[in-house]
C-alpha cells in the first residue's frame, strides 16, 4: 500500500497558529495538576490515572482519546467529582473542586434523562434545585430546549424520543445550569453513524453560540479531530498523558474537511499513538487473537476470497 504524501500534523497555517496563540491567552478554566488515581483491587493497587496534567482555556474544545482501558472515563468522572482521586489537584477557575456540583455539567454515554419527567421538566431539574422560581425556571428551560431544536417536544417523555434527541435534551439539561465546563463521556457512542454525524454538527453549533468550555471523551479518532481544538491523547496501563495535539484543521469545521491533508495528517499521528506498530505482536503473546484454520471442506469448489 502506498502512503499518501501528507504534511506533518505539527504544520499549522498562519491563521491556525494565530488562533492557538489567542486561545492560550484566554483565561484558564480547568487546570489539572499531577492527577493520580489508584484503585485497590484483590490483586493489589492498580494505577488508573498517573500524573495527568493539562489546562483548558475559556471556550476551548478539548477531546480526550486513548486506547480502551486508558482511564478516559475515569478521568472525566473524576473531573465531574463522581470519583475521588489519590493525589494531585483539579482547579476550576483556580479554585480546587471536591465532589460533584452544578458548575461542571456532564453528559453521559447512557441515557440519563429522568424518565418520569417531560423534556421541559428534565431541563428544569437543575434550575429548580438552584432555587429558581417555577415560571423563571420554565422560561429558561424553554430557551435551552429551543437552542437544541426540540421545541416541538417540550411535553414529550424521554421514552418517546430517539437516542439523538435524548442526548440533545441531556445537553440542554446540563447547559441550563450554566456550568463553567461541560464534560461529555462518549455522549454519542450509542448512536448510529448518521445520528452521530448530525449530533457532532449540532454540538459544534451550540459550542460556537454560547460561552462554554468542553472536555469530550471519545474513542473515535475522526470525531476527536472534527470536534477538537486540542486532543489529549492518553496511553493505557497506567493512564498517562502521551501527547497534547493541537489540531491543525482550520475553524469553522465542516464535514468536507475530513479528507483535507491537515485532517489526515492528524489522524495518522493519532493512529501511531493509539495503535503503535509493535502492539499487534504483543497482543499475540497475550493470546488475544483469532486462531485461524481454513474451515472449508477439502473438495469445496471455493476459491480463496483474495
Amino acid at each position: 500500500m502506498t502512503q499518501l504524501e501528507l504534511p506533518s500534523y505539527r504544520d499549522q497555517s498562519p491563521e491556525v497558529a494565530d488562533r492557538f496563540t489567542r486561545l492560550k491567552e484566554r483565561p484558564v478554566i480547568l487546570e489539572v495538576k499531577g492527577l493520580t488515581k489508584t484503585f485497590d483491587t484483590a490483586q493489589g493497587p492498580v494505577t488508573a490515572l498517573k500524573d495527568i496534567s493539562f489546562r483548558t482555556h475559556q471556550r476551548e474544545f478539548v477531546c480526550v482519546i486513548g486506547p480502551s482501558g486508558c482511564g478516559k472515563s475515569t478521568l472525566v468522572r473524576t473531573l465531574a467529582g463522581l470519583e475521588d482521586y489519590s493525589s494531585g489537584e483539579v482547579l476550576l477557575d483556580g479554585k480546587p473542586v471536591h465532589g460533584p456540583g452544578p458548575d461542571r455539567g456532564m453528559v453521559f454515554q447512557g441515557y440519563t434523562l429522568f424518565p418520569w419527567r417531560t423534556v421541559k421538566k428534565n431541563v428544569m431539574f437543575g434550575l429548580e434545585l438552584a432555587g429558581r422560581s417555577r415560571t423563571a425556571a420554565e422560561e429558561e428551560a424553554l430557551q435551552w430546549i429551543d437552542l437544541v431544536g426540540l421545541s416541538k417536544f417540550v411535553n414529550a417523555y424521554p421514552h418517546q424520543l430517539s437516542g439523538g434527541m435524548k442526548q440533545r435534551v441531556a445537553i440542554a439539561r446540563a447547559l441550563a445550569n450554566q456550568p463553567r465546563i461541560l464534560l461529555m463521556d462518549e455522549p454519542f457512542g450509542a448512536l448510529d453513524a448518521q445520528s452521530r454525524a448530525k449530533m457532532q454538527g449540532y454540538l459544534l453549533e451550540i459550542w460556537k453560540n454560547i460561552d462554554i468550555t468542553i472536555v469530550f471523551i471519545t474513542h473515535d479518532l475522526d470525531e476527536a479531530i472534527y470536534l477538537a481544538d486540542r486532543i489529549l491523547v492518553l496511553k493505557a496501563h497506567p493512564g498517562e498523558v502521551q501527547e497534547l495535539i493541537e489540531v491543525p484543521v482550520p475553524q469553522p469545521r465542516t464535514p468536507t474537511q475530513c479528507l483535507s491533508p491537515e485532517f489526515l495528517a492528524t489522524k495518522r499521528r493519532l493512529e501511531e499513538l493509539i495503535h503503535p506498530p509493535g502492539q499487534e505482536a504483543e497482543e499475540g503473546i497475550n493470546g488475544d487473537r483469532l486462531n485461524m484454520v481454513r474451515m472449508v471442506p477439502v473438495n469445496a469448489k471455493v476459491e480463496s476470497v483474495l
Partner: protein, 319 residues
C-alpha cells in the same frame, strides 16, 4: 390471521388477546359444568329418591355408589322392594347454577343465629380489617423501605432484624395479639400488619435499590444533594415500581385475612365461609369464595387503571 398462536414472546392481535382472556374464565367454568351436569364423568354418590326397604336410607340422603349397589343386590336377592336414586356429586361440589343462586340468596338469607352477621356486613368487616392492616403497614413500611434502599446505614440497622422477623409466621402472634389488643378488630388488623409489614420493607428496599445509579449520578452533576436526591430522584424514580409492588403485597394481605378472622371475636367473610361449611351450605361457601375473588380482581383492575393515569411516562409505545 395466519400468524401462529404460539410464537415465543410475540404479541398477539387485540382480538386474540381478549378471546384468550375470556377463555381463561370459560375453560374452568366448562370443566366445572361438565363434572356437575354430565353424570358418567364423576358423580360418585347416589341421592336416594325412594328408600325402599333399606331401613337406614332416607329420601334425599347421599350414599356412596358402592354402598347403594350392595344394598340393592342384597334386597334383590331377598326379593324385597328396591331403593331408587339418582347419581350425584358429593355435597361439597355444588353445581354452577346452585352457586349462582347462592350468590344472590347468601345476601338475602337472614343469619341462622341472632349474633351472626349478614353476608354484606361480614364483607364490610373484612374489607375494613384489610384496609387498616395494609394502610398502617404501608404508612411505616414504605418510608422505611425507601430509606433502607437509599442509605446503607438504615439498611444495615433494620434489615437483619426484619429478615429474622419475616420468618416468624403471623398466625403465631394470634393469641398474643388478642391478649394485648382485646378481641375486636385491633388484633385482626395486627395480624394483617405483621404478615405484610416485614415483607413490605424488604420488597420496597429491594425495588428502591434497583433504581439506575446513572440517574443519581446525573442528578449529582446537576447540583442535587442529600434531600434533593431522595425527594427529586429516588422517590419519583421508584414510585411506579413501588406501586406495582403494593398491588402484589395487597394480594398477600388477603392471605392473612383467614387467620386474622379466626382469632378473637370471629367475624368477617372467612368466618362466614367457615360457618357455612359447618352447616354444609357449600353453595354459600363457593359463593363467598367467588366474592373474594371478584373483589380482589376488581381492586387490582382499578389499581392498574389508576396506575396508568398516575404514571403516564411508563406507557411504552406499542407497535
Amino acid at each position: 390471521m395466519n400468524k401462529p398462536w404460539f410464537a415465543v414472546r410475540k404479541e398477539l392481535s387485540p382480538r386474540r388477546r381478549s378471546f384468550l382472556a375470556v377463555m381463561s374464565f370459560v375453560l374452568p367454568l366448562l370443566v366445572w359444568s361438565l363434572v356437575s351436569y354430565v353424570p358418567f364423568i364423576w358423580h360418585p354418590q347416589v341421592e336416594i329418591i325412594e328408600a325402599g326397604e333399606v331401613d337406614y336410607f332416607r329420601t334425599g340422603m347421599l350414599v356412596d355408589r358402592s354402598v347403594f349397589e350392595q344394598e340393592r343386590e342384597t334386597l334383590r336377592a331377598e326379593g324385597r322392594e328396591l331403593p331408587t336414586g339418582t347419581r350425584t356429586n358429593p355435597v361439597y361440589l355444588p353445581a354452577p347454577h346452585e352457586v349462582a343462586t347462592a350468590l344472590y340468596t347468601a345476601f338475602s338469607t337472614e343469619p341462622q343465629r341472632r349474633n351472626e352477621k349478614w353476608l354484606h356486613e361480614s364483607l364490610a368487616d373484612s374489607i375494613q380489617v384489610i384496609f387498616w392492616g395494609f394502610f398502617l403497614s404501608s404508612l411505616i413500611g414504605v418510608p422505611l423501605g425507601i430509606l433502607a434502599g437509599t442509605y446503607v446505614a438504615v439498611s444495615r440497622l433494620t434489615e437483619p432484624f426484619v429478615e429474622f422477623f419475616r420468618y416468624l409466621p403471623a398466625p403465631a402472634f394470634g393469641a398474643l395479639a388478642v391478649a394485648i389488643l382485646g378481641i375486636h378488630d385491633a388484633p385482626k388488623i395486627a395480624i394483617i400488619f405483621i404478615g405484610t409489614f416485614f415483607q413490605q420493607v424488604l420488597v420496597v428496599a429491594n425495588t428502591t435499590r434497583k433504581l439506575d445509579p446513572a440517574l443519581l449520578e446525573a442528578a449529582l452533576t446537576l447540583g442535587a444533594r442529600n434531600a434533593g436526591l431522595l425527594f427529586k430522584v429516588v422517590i419519583p424514580g421508584v414510585a411506579s415500581d413501588l406501586y406495582r409492588d403494593m398491588r402484589i403485597l395487597l394480594g398477600w394481605a388477603w392471605t392473612y385475612l383467614i387467620v386474622a378472622e379466626m382469632i378473637g371475636a370471629s367475624s368477617g367473610i372467612t368466618w362466614f365461609i367457615t360457618q357455612q361449611a359447618r352447616y354444609k351450605n357449600f353453595d354459600n361457601v363457593f359463593a363467598a369464595i367467588l366474592i373474594i375473588g371478584i373483589i380482589g380482581l376488581t381492586t387490582d383492575l382499578i389499581l392498574a387503571w389508576l396506575g396508568r393515569r398516575l404514571f403516564p411516562w411508563q406507557r411504552t409505545a406499542r407497535a
